[in-house]
């Protein structure tokens, strides 16, 4: 009876946090303030009750009561600021479980433990964490986040990023786990200066924001000069609510100094200096090519380089100069065409390597370089894709069973390869690649559902196949996809109703 007000406060506190997760407006601040006041009230109530019990001589009751009432409130900041930086994997696991993060506390516990592991990776802790993860069947968002943070602990930021992004495809949804994943991704974007990416991924439904993530999203909006970006006062409030203020102060200062940028003139990524001075297309193409090789490969720079080469190699001045010079040098018959082919081939090889490195698609330019580059990228990626899908399906036929997380990693790697290939070849290549992806993917999805009982994983594959089927207009695949995606998905948080729009 004495603890009833505490539980009422606890419920309202939890409801305030839940409400906060669903918004990214000024309501976020209001819910945060309310949650803070309620947390303070819970601590005050707990301390008062413990003191009262202690004074009447019930100290043996006061100690566990104190732990039960005060610890859940103080544990989240304790985990972030003390246990995780110390790398105490198991202690963090139990502390996170005890902080009562909602249904399926072990999921949050394992994620926080992986976070702590990332700070001080030890082989024994890795084995223990892997055991915790493997024991949890079927695979859900928490297991993917655990694996991602373990990869981060080994310094593999790319794998961590890829796995955390893939969480958005899974229907199992632990809000506290998604908060952690979203924060890592937001911090990662901030470190890389990828403000556009951070802004695009700030989706309320998939990634509820932590105070730090919410602040970084505000910084991104200011940096991009977006309409609806937070005002200076609003950003200050977000800054004050976020942890690690010493580290975020520089970001805040930078964001408030951002002035609205003037409207861009022309293509901002196409280098204008030097090139515009070039009198004929060929020197222009060589200069563009060298500048492209000198910086980070981007789609716009690649397109500009390919356009410049196509113009240069089709230019009459280039042909007439080559013909005259071939005569002067007494070059063999056909030297002009051969030289042009050789230049186009060498340029295409170099640009294809850069495009693969930067995961860029072929630009829509038609000419000796544009067409050859498109062909090369399309064939290379289609071949790699078919090999990958064949390997995936062969393993199922061989009866080789891997851990569910490895199946997931294989799928997202193939999906990324598919996206690259489609990016390079457009709808034409998508139509070529889809039948192979569909036959392998739907068989794998059925096997994972029926034999492995990996429902969330299977559902994610079916959803992806359905979205691709809709793009290429494959009616048979659409029908099957609809049937598969309508099945209810069993997760640790209960059954998620099947819905093609999930």
């Amino acid at each position: 009876m004495y603890v009833a007000p505490y539980f009422i406060l606890f419920r309202i506190h939890r409801a305030a946090l839940e409400a906060r997760r669903k918004c990214r407006t000024w309501h976020y601040v209001l819910w945060s303030v309310l949650a803070g006041i309620l947390a303070g009230a819970m601590i005050a109530f707990g301390v008062t009750l413990v003191t009262a019990f202690w004074l009447v001589g019930l100290w043996w009751l006061a100690i566990p009561l104190g732990a039960l009432m005060v610890l859940p409130v103080v544990l989240p900041p304790l985990i972030r600021h003390a246990l995780v930086p110390l790398g105490l994997t198991r202690v963090t696991y139990w502390a996170a479980r005890f902080s009562r993060p909602g249904a399926d506390a072990p999921a949050y516990g394992a994620c926080c433990a992986a976070w702590a592991f990332a700070h001080a990776p030890k082989p024994a802790a890795e084995v223990w964490l892997a055991q915790q993860r493997e024991a949890r069947i079927p695979l859900g968002d928490a297991e993917v986040v655990v694996t991602a943070l373990m990869a981060a602990g080994k310094g593999d930021a790319d794998t961590c990023r890829m796995l955390l992004r893939s969480v958005a495809m899974l229907v199992e949804d632990h809000p506290v786990v998604r908060e952690l994943a979203g924060e890592w991704l937001a911090v990662d974007c901030a470190e890389r200066g990828a403000w556009r990416e951070l802004h695009e991924f700030s989706d309320t439904h998939r990634w509820p924001a932590t105070p730090l993530g919410f602040f970084l999203e505000g910084v991104a909006a200011r940096q991009l000069n977006l309409e609806g970006a937070p005002s200076q006062l609003e950003l200050l409030v977000r800054f004050l609510f976020a942890p690690h203020r010493r580290a975020t102060a520089a970001l805040y200062d930078e964001a408030v100094k951002v002035q609205p940028a003037p409207a861009p003139q022309g293509d901002p990524e196409t280098p204008a200096t030097e090139l515009d001075d070039a009198p004929t297309p060929l020197p222009r193409a060589v200069a563009t090519h060298l500048m492209f090789g000198n910086g980070d490969p981007t789609a716009a720079r690649l397109a500009a380089t390919v356009r410049a080469w196509d113009a240069a190699l089709a230019d009459g001045t280039t042909h007439s100069w080559l013909a005259r010079r071939a005569l002067e040098l007494d070059a063999p018959l056909g030297a002009v065409d051969r030289a042009l082919r050789e230049v186009a081939g060498a340029v295409t090889e170099e640009l294809a390597r850069a495009a693969d490195r930067g995961r860029l698609g072929a630009p829509p330019s038609h000419g000796p370089v544009g067409d050859a580059l498109a062909r090369k990228l399309r064939h290379g990626r289609l071949d790699a894709l078919e090999t990958g899908f064949t390997r995936w399906s062969k393993r199922r036929l061989d009866g080789a069973t891997r851990a569910a997380i490895d199946e997931w990693r294989e799928f997202i790697a193939l999906q990324a390869a598919y996206a690259d290939a489609v990016n390079a070849g457009g709808l034409e290549l998508r139509r070529l690649a889809f039948p192979h992806a569909f036959s392998t993917g739907s068989n794998m999805a059925a096997w994972l559902w029926n034999t492995r009982h990996e429902y969330a994983l299977s559902h994610a594959i079916s959803k992806w196949l359905l979205s691709e089927a809709l793009i290429v207009g494959d009616t048979e695949a659409i029908e099957l996809g609809h049937r598969n995606c309508r099945l209810d998905v069993v997760t640790r948080l209960g059954s998620v109703p099947g819905d093609v729009d999930n």
Binding site: A118, L212, P283, L290, P332, A339, A346, E350
Partner: protein
């Protein structure tokens, strides 16, 4: 294409005659044999590159072949002027190395 272009390796303009090419190659080979510091690098539009006797011999051989000279001229004539300083990586001004770490995340 650019870095190992015979004209850049020999430090000659694309208009150089066959005699000039032979004479320059002999001179460079002699200087390299005597370990002259000036001969150990050549300038290209992508910055200085190390010069070796093998590269010099390969450049002369390429320029003796009319077809290969045609291709080498095509590149050398249209390339921007050579740079005397090595190429530096373009700094990514917006990236903040170590921010993840200072915000409590790894790696």
């Amino acid at each position: 294409m650019i870095v190992d272009n015979p004209f850049f390796v020999l430090g000659l303009s694309p208009e150089a005659s066959r005699i000039e090419i032979e004479r320059e190659a002999q001179k460079l080979l002699g200087m390299l044999e005597l370990d002259f510091a000036d001969a150990k690098a050549y300038q290209t539009p992508l910055g200085p590159q190390p010069r070796t006797p093998e590269a010099v011999r390969a450049a002369v051989a390429a320029l003796r072949d009319p077809y290969r000279r045609l291709v080498a001229e095509l590149w050398a004539r249209n390339a921007p002027p050579p740079r005397t300083v090595p190429r530096t990586e373009t700094p990514t001004t917006s990236s903040r190395v170590g921010l993840r770490r200072s915000l409590g995340w790894r790696p």
